[in-house]
């Protein structure tokens, strides 16, 4: 079932056509990745879908509601995780949840949302005492307080250590399994490969490929692509995880 429809989306900054006719759709309960080099237009595309930036041309529909025409209605349907989540200091975690719930006009059980992301022990701590990974997890759960249908994440794992990254992947999968569509940008190909159900690769404001990661690899191989062969049974990250364990290190 299609929940997000993007048609011919355009955005111009001065001389630069930042987003140049992007079209794609996202299904209910899938993780959709947008990949591309810096300046490809990933973040701008996301921001237009999130009502944060005016749309120059084309349309975005979420649950059949036009984003440009009914931004206030859209805000109830989406959850947004910014690139670097920040919270006002001297705020307790439970208060952060209460604030965001209140912003949606809701009253929620803050502890429930904290334990969803494994932060129940930190409930009475101040946000400034959290590690980077913990802040990401808090940010994710604040974006879900109102039960959105679509969840946007902008480079969620940038700057996290391997354990925190893996933990975040697990959380994102749990969100998807609750039937929420996840739309995320990333620079990491390994992340896109293991996490995303489908990906779009953007370059210079255009989508150059869109499919399941496996299919994209298969298509490349069909074109007789040959990677320099050396078979590695493990890589450095495997060594790191083997030595330091999979458990989270943010006590």
């Amino acid at each position: 079932m299609t929940i997000v429809k993007v048609r011919d989306l355009k955005k111009r900054y001065g001389d630069k056509q930042a987003v140049d006719g992007v079209s794609f759709s996202v299904n209910k309960g899938e993780i959709f990745g947008i990949l591309g080099p810096n300046g490809a237009g990933k973040t701008t595309t996301l921001e237009m879908m999130e009502t944060l930036r005016p749309i120059d041309g084309g349309t975005v529909e979420i649950s059949n509601i036009d984003v440009a025409r009914h931004p206030q209605d859209i805000k109830f349907l989406i959850g947004v995780q910014p690139q670097s989540p920040a919270f006002q200091d001297k705020t307790k975690l439970t208060e952060v949840i209460d604030l965001f719930a209140a912003a949606y006009g809701e009253k929620v059980d803050a502890m429930q949302f904290l334990s969803d992301v494994g932060l129940e022990d930190k409930a009475k701590s101040y946000v400034e005492d959290l590690s980077g990974g913990q802040k990401q997890r808090l940010s994710i759960t604040t974006a879900l307080v109102h039960g959105p249908k679509v969840f946007f994440l902008d480079e969620p794992t940038t700057g996290l250590d391997p354990q925190a990254r893996r933990h975040l992947w697990d959380l994102i999968r749990v969100v998807r399994d609750r039937g929420i569509s996840v739309i995320m940008t990333t620079h990491y190909m390994d992340e896109a490969e293991v996490l995303c159900d489908r990906i779009a690769i953007m370059d210079e404001g255009k989508i150059v490929a869109i499919d399941k990661p496996k299919n994209l690899v298969r298509q490349l191989l069909k074109r007789c692509f040959k990677k320099e062969q050396h078979v590695e049974q493990a890589n450095l990250e495997d060594v790191f995880i083997d030595l330091t364990g999979k458990g989270l290190r943010d006590a």
């Binding site: 944060l52 109830f76 910014p82 006002q88 200091d89 965001f100 912003a103 006009g105 809701e106």
Partner: protein, 373 residues
């Protein structure tokens, strides 16, 4: 369309509650909103209360050994209008101090002062008041003080009839000290500090961190955010002003003759009106660099021309006319009229009207220029 289950004001109250709690956890913010104004009050208050009673700083150069001279000096010492500097014993010393305005005048008693002259049965003498050009008024006043002292002394020795006389009588009902008057200005200064510099410092910081941008992805409306800030600031403001009132009562014996039920709502309205200026500036600015010069341009005229530190009646007339319309002027005038002069709302309609107009203008601008990032 699905909307929140709670009332729109639930959002406002939750934001106000949590942000006010945060404020009390932040010791720096607490110091600058409550501690700093009190320090300011103590400094300015003591400057003002010093000259509330008109006393003369004088030195007495007594060259006479007579008993009468000693008694006379003792009497002068008891006079409350004279502040006698006992360290000065020579005329040169006194001249030196007078040239630096540390002394208003010197009373010189010559060596024969108070001695009984030949052929007389009573002591006599001539005291001299020495003063500099700058202190003619003090010297004249001092001369008449001494003159009246001598008259009563003379009357003891030489009986004569005084058909006409004058007596002075002090009435002391609700008279205001200089401090009572300057307190309104200090409150105004504090309201400006909290209302303008608060949001001007906080908002650009929140924008830089992306916190307001994150909020803008939620259905939170600008009026909800503003109103929650208003409720929070009004709470903090009333606490801060309350502490200032307590200190003023204890330390400077502040007299409030007005009605508290009129004064408190007036203070709340003032805080909210001035806060609007901060919301407009901070809400508009993208960063601190952009807002700092503008905030100073807005704040400084009010700080100096609205009667915070210098009374407006000392200004030239054209400046009084201009400064009358600054947003802070009706606030300070209103506080003074209610608190110190016991006026009621019906008496200060011009001030209330001016504040009402500013309130509307300021908040229309604040809503127009607000940016989430």
């Amino acid at each position: 369309m699905r909307k929140g289950t709670q009332h729109p004001l639930f959002t406002v109250i939750t934001f106000a509650k949590i942000n006010t709690r945060r404020f009390f956890r932040d010791k720096t913010a607490l110091f600058f909103s409550v501690g700093f104004p009190v320090i300011f009050l103590l400094v300015f208050g003591s400057l003002n209360s010093g000259n509330s009673d008109a006393s003369f700083k004088v030195a007495i150069i007594n060259s006479s050994n007579s008993v009468f001279a000693k008694q006379f000096v003792g009497n002068l010492d008891k006079a409350s209008v004279l502040n006698i500097n006992k360290d000065i014993t020579t005329l040169d010393d006194a001249k030196d101090k007078m040239s630096r305005s540390e002394l208003d005048a010197a009373v010189v008693l010559p060596s024969d002062f108070g001695a009984v002259q030949k052929g007389n049965t009573y002591p006599s003498g001539k005291a001299e008041v020495v003063y500099t050009q700058n202190n003619q008024q003090s010297a004249t006043a001092l001369g008449s003080i001494l003159d009246s002292q001598f008259k009563s002394i003379n009357a003891q020795f030489v009986k004569n009839v005084t058909p006409f006389s004058v007596t002075t009588k002090q009435i002391n009902e609700n008279s205001l000290s200089a401090f009572d008057y300057s307190f309104a200005g200090l409150l105004g200064f504090s309201i400006i500090g909290m209302g303008i510099f608060g949001p001007v410092n906080v908002f650009p910081e929140l924008k830089k961190m992306g916190i307001l941008r994150r909020l803008s992805t939620t259905p939170l409306k600008v009026w909800q955010y503003f109103l929650s800030t208003m409720v929070g600031q009004a709470t903090i403001g009333i606490i801060s002003l309350g502490v200032m009132f307590l200190v003023a009562f204890w330390v400077f014996h502040l007299k409030v003759v007005g009605n508290w039920f009129e004064l408190i709502p007036f203070l709340l309205g003032s805080i909210i009106m001035i806060l609007g200026i901060g919301l407009a500036l901070g809400g508009w600015a993208k960063n601190e660099r952009q807002v700092a010069p503008l905030a100073n341009i807005v704040v400084f005229p009010m700080m100096f021309l609205s009667g915070t530190f210098f009374p407006r009646f000392l200004m030239p007339e054209w400046l009084q006319n201009v400064s009358y319309f600054l947003p802070l002027t009706p606030v300070i005038d209103g506080i003074r009229l209610i608190a110190s002069e016991g006026k009621h709302y019906v008496d200060i309609l011009p001030q209330l009207g001016l504040m009402g107009i500013w309130l509307v203008v300021i908040y229309v601008i604040a809503f127009r220029v607000f940016r989430w990032e």
